[in-house]
């Protein structure tokens, strides 16, 4: 892969909203991937200044590779490792260093690893988190939790906040949404609760798919007793990622799904609040 390392003298241009594919055409599928020490990894893009991906102001790195296939995924161009660019850890750490003084100057600001699924590359992402902590930054892991078992206790020591997507409660719905099982995510949530690790739960609200009252109720009741969960954030579905599905020749099932109406969002908020969670 020598030629790719040459190309990777800089982190990828563009933002999470830009379509990218085949930046590393030779990259393996995630099942066949072994990252060794994590001195290299696959990355889709990065963005600075976000205030949605954690507390304060964030620099957000989108890693590529994801075991889920969510129907509403905004970033289907992060599913495969090959979609991202193979970059050396060193480069990421250097670049992070350029931003560190500014991030440290703002309350609770720091690095969020998102994707894709950062836990596809636990060694790589773990080392990025360690470097970010050494730079004095707040760190957040944005994950579906499906690969939660890969995040060792040592790994989580360098993570200040986990943003955990619980995409549904009902296992069938979960499978319909993601093509995977819900179990690993729930086990991960319980483990984080036992550790007392701060968590923001996220719930994407898709009309006709995840809006069933019992489904919402299930998540809320599951989360409510967990003292480590600071917020449950409800993300109303919107169509912003649709163009990527089309460009990748994927079959986008939510073409005709409307954005979540205000009334529905209100209902779901109330349900979650009534269960005893902080919701927003």
């Amino acid at each position: 892969m020598a030629e790719l390392q040459v190309a990777a003298t800089e982190l990828p241009e563009g933002s999470r909203h830009d379509l990218r594919r085949d930046l590393s055409p030779d990259a393996p599928e995630i099942e066949d991937y072994s990252e060794g020490e994590g001195a290299f990894g696959y990355m889709h893009s990065y963005e600075t200044g976000s205030r949605l991906d954690g507390p304060g102001i964030r620099i957000t790195l989108f890693l590529s590779g994801c075991p889920l296939r969510c129907q509403y995924c905004h970033n289907p161009d992060t599913w495969h490792l090959k979609h991202g660019m193979r970059v050396p850890l060193e480069l990421i750490v250097t670049r992070l260093g350029h931003f560190a003084p500014a991030l440290r100057a703002m309350k609770k600001s720091g690095l969020t690893l998102s994707g894709g699924e950062p836990l596809v590359q636990p060694a790589f992402s773990g080392r990025i988190f360690a470097a970010a902590k050494a730079l004095g930054l707040h760190t957040a892991l944005d994950t579906s939790g499906f690969l939660g078992s890969r995040a060792t206790d040592e790994y989580l020591e360098n993570v200040d906040l986990v943003i955990l997507d619980i995409k549904s409660w009902d296992p069938d719905t979960y499978r319909r949404v993601t093509k995977q099982d819900i179990e690993p995510t729930l086990r991960f949530a319980e483990r984080l609760a036992a550790m007392g690790k701060p968590v923001w739960v996220r719930y994407v609200l898709v009309p006709g798919l995840t809006d069933d009252p019992a489904n919402v109720e299930g998540v809320a009741k599951f989360v409510a007793p967990m003292k480590n969960v600071e917020w449950v954030g409800v993300l109303p579905f919107h169509q912003l990622g649709a163009f990527k599905w089309k460009a990748l020749g994927l079959d986008y099932e939510l073409v005709n799904t409307p954005p979540a109406p205000r009334a529905l969002v209100k209902r779901v908020h109330a349900q979650i609040r009534d269960a005893g969670c902080n919701v927003r």
Binding site: T48, S50, G56, I57, I59, F99
Partner: protein, 749 residues
């Protein structure tokens, strides 16, 4: 010194003595200010009278949006006493005074240059008055005529080729801030007496050219002060005496400013730093129970109304550079005192409140002097007002305080100066991108092919070599800097002589600091171009005539605006390098060299006249405004973008570094309070990292596009461009498009 009875009465209950013994508004302010750390909850809505006056003006605004210029008095060259009193609505005006006898009736000020008058009138289908024309073409030399007597063929060629553009050689240079507060605090009689004393001190000096010039200037200053008194008399006020209450303080100060804008059509006519000065009088009146909060707000609202209707005659060429009829009535709000107290007062809030009471507007150009130590409540209020109006700019008080002390103000957009103690010789800017292309082409203009610069050796070989290009570029910069300083010396010698700002300078000390303010445009284009040459492969392509007119760039290269030192270092180096070239050459009157990275809206015009550049920018495409990254190239979010700009060295650009950030109002799951906290944090961070200035726009492209199509729906839509705010619908279509094509960041700060 014995005080007259009138001063004793006017200065009742004020503390401090230095300011009583000598002219020192700064000492008066720090001795008497009441810093305010609370919130905005005390503020009042507009009074009935304010609304009546504002209502009266609306038809004028509407007409003007359609027609441009409404009316001109072509027969009366403007001076302090040329026009009798004018009113908008006599019964309801609390603060009075117009530039001419009618609102929106523009005046002519021919001493700057006759061409500006002729061109301005022609553009609106009006004829100049023959007698006035004869006077200023035959009997009275103008600034413009003098400059062209002094210019060399080389300078003329540089102007024609747009490598040096926007020079104040045909219009008033502006950027001078009279200390208008002195009129209120001391009264004009005392100011004249002080000038007389200062003048007497130089009677013994041998009459060198310098001394004679100063004597003549001071005589003019004193005459101007006397005329100012006459002007105010026309409105029934005796401003010979100090102002005795808040209403008089605002009125006297406004008269000072009005006098300035009657005599000088300057490119930028700042107000200075008046709101916290007014506050001292307001606090006293409130304590004496002669005033209520409603009255206080009414005063400020009505003062601001006057500042919103300043109008000058300008030419279409001028408008192309500085679009939307700006005049930069810049007012500085906030900041800290040297003793650690804040200079935020209740009247700082009252000033911001005018944007709510009267709706958003580009003028006065409200400038927040931001310090980390500002009261939290004030910071939060600024963020809220900024979001609602997009009318505020923020500048780094922590950076300027050590430089200028605690009584400085901003001329134009970003030029700091001590009020009444410092002035600048304004000098627009050079086109640095063109200079790079000249270096590549051996001094020939890439558009016309004309040999404008020195005939150095053009580049050779198939691929541009970074070191070779840099060496050639450095030589070309040295030539450009020399020509530029040369031109500026000619301009300001002529301006001092034929278009002297006698009133504004009367409101300064005799011995002042002068700076000569140079500027560069196209910084990000040049940085990106050099980055392309350094990190990618750039093949220069010959057009006809052996000229390199295009570039084939292969490979990736870092671009300015992503907090990437590989290219940001190039930009930093360029700023210092050009500044050092300027510093080599002696300036007129020993002025200190400074430099700005600011374009106003001229980035469009500059781009238009500049050929293809190695960064991939096509011929005619606008530059990034001010110190901004090129449109769309700051692709990793606002944080990266603003950090690149924050790295530019203020010590080599002390006339200011302008940065405009547009963010789209976004979803706020965290709630409003949290949103404001983060924005406050972000501004503290940006300035803490060395940022100098930020224009904050909070609006979406869609709104702007709609406003382009339906201007009637958006009469007051205000947007900040490089260094100033404009009424969006009054921009040219081209400039509107430019604004829309800029980077808008999602997820506001």
């Amino acid at each position: 010194m014995l005080q007259e009875v009138s001063s004793t009465q006017a200065w009742r209950k004020f503390s401090g003595t230095d300011w009583q013994n000598e002219i020192s508004v700064r000492d008066f302010i720090v001795s008497n200010i009441t810093p305010y750390t609370g919130g905005a909850e005390f503020l009042a809505t507009p009074s009935r009278r304010t609304l009546a006056v504002w209502e009266k003006l609306q038809p004028y605004f509407r007409e003007e949006a359609k027609k441009g210029v409404l009316d001109v008095d072509v027969a009366t060259p403007s001076s302090l006493t040329s026009h009798g009193p004018g009113y908008i609505d006599r019964d309801n005006e609390v603060i009075v005074g117009l530039q001419t006898d009618q609102p929106f009736r523009r005046a002519i000020m021919p001493t700057g240059g006759w061409g500006m008058i002729e061109g301005g009138l022609k553009a609106i289908g009006r004829e100049p008055d023959p007698a006035v024309r004869e006077t200023f073409t035959k009997y009275r030399k103008t600034h413009n005529a003098a400059v062209f007597d002094l210019y060399t063929p080389e300078i003329r060629e540089c102007r024609r080729s747009n490598i040096i553009t926007g020079l104040p050689d045909a219009y008033g240079r502006g950027r001078i801030i009279g200390d208008y507060r002195r009129v209120a605090l001391y009264g004009v009689d005392r100011l004249i007496a002080a000038k007389k004393a200062e003048r007497a001190q130089i009677d013994a000096r041998w009459p060198t050219e310098e001394v004679m010039r100063l004597r003549e200037e001071m005589a003019d200053q004193m005459r101007a002060l006397a005329d100012l008194k006459t002007m105010a008399q026309g409105y029934g006020f005796d401003i010979g005496k100090p102002a005795a209450n808040a209403r008089e303080a605002v009125q006297w100060t406004y008269f000072g400013y009005l006098g300035a804008i009657k005599e000088m059509n300057g490119a930028a006519m700042s107000v200075g730093r008046v709101s916290s000065f007014f506050d001292i009088y307001i606090e006293r009146d409130l304590a004496e129970k002669t005033m209520t909060e409603d009255d206080a707000q009414e005063l400020i609202d009505q003062f601001v109304i006057k500042l919103r209707i300043v109008r000058f005659m300008r030419t279409p060429e001028y408008d192309a550079l500085f679009s939307g009829d700006p005049y930069w009535a810049t007012e500085c709000i906030g900041g800290m005192a040297l003793d650690g107290r804040t200079l935020v007062t209740r009247s700082s809030f009252r000033m911001l409140q005018t944007l709510t009471n009267l709706g958003p507007a580009p003028e006065p150009n409200m400038t927040i002097l931001w310090s980390k130590r500002l009261p939290e409540a004030f910071k939060r209020c600024c963020i809220t007002v900024s979001k609602e109006s997009s009318a505020l700019q923020f500048e780094n008080d922590d950076l300027m305080l050590p430089q200028f002390g605690d009584d400085y103000a901003i001329a134009c957009c970003v030029s700091g100066m001590r009020v009444g103690k410092q002035m600048q010789y304004f000098g627009a800017r050079v086109n640095l991108a063109k200079c790079l292309l000249y270096a590549i082409n051996g001094g020939r203009d890439e558009v016309s092919g004309v040999q404008v610069g020195p005939a150095y050796r053009p580049v050779e070989g198939d691929v541009l070599d970074y070191d070779d290009v840099m060496a050639k570029f450095d030589d070309m910069m040295a030539w450009l800097a020399r020509t530029y300083v040369h031109a500026m010396n000619c301009i300001h010698w002529s301006h001092d002589r034929y278009n002297y700002e006698r009133l504004m300078m009367a409101l300064h000390d005799r011995d002042i600091v002068r700076t000569m303010a140079f500027g560069i445009a196209g910084l990000s284009v040049v940085a990106d171009s050099l980055s392309a040459i350094k990190y990618a492969k750039v093949k220069p392509l010959r057009g006809g005539d052996g000229l390199f007119t295009d570039y084939e760039t292969t490979g990736e290269f870092p671009v300015f605006g992503n907090n990437d030192p590989r290219v940001d270092d190039i930009a930093v180096d360029l700023v210092k390098r050009f500044m050092d070239h300027l510093r080599v050459h002696a300036t007129y009157r020993g002025a200190i060299h400074t430099q700005s990275i600011l374009t106003i809206t001229s980035n469009v015009v500059y781009g238009k006249g500049t050929g293809n550049t190695p960064d991939g920018r096509r011929k005619g495409e606008p530059f990034g405004p001010g110190a901004n990254p090129m449109h769309g190239r700051d692709s990793h979010g606002w944080l990266a973008s603003c950090l690149s700009v924050a790295r530019l060295p203020y010590e080599h650009a002390q006339d200011g570094i302008s940065y405009t950030l547009s963010v789209v109002p976004g979803e706020t799951r965290q709630g409003e309070a949290e949103r404001i906290s983060r924005a406050v944090d972000a501004l503290d961070m940006y300035f803490g990292q060395g940022g100098f200035h930020i224009n904050l726009n909070v609006l979406s492209k869609e709104t702007l596009m709609d406003a382009m199509e339906h201007p009637d729906k958006y009469p007051q839509l205000t947007i900040r461009v490089s260094g100033y705010a404009v009424n969006f619908i009054r921009l040219t279509r081209e400039q509107q498009q430019d604004v829309i094509s800029r980077t808008f960041f999602h997820g506001e700060i």
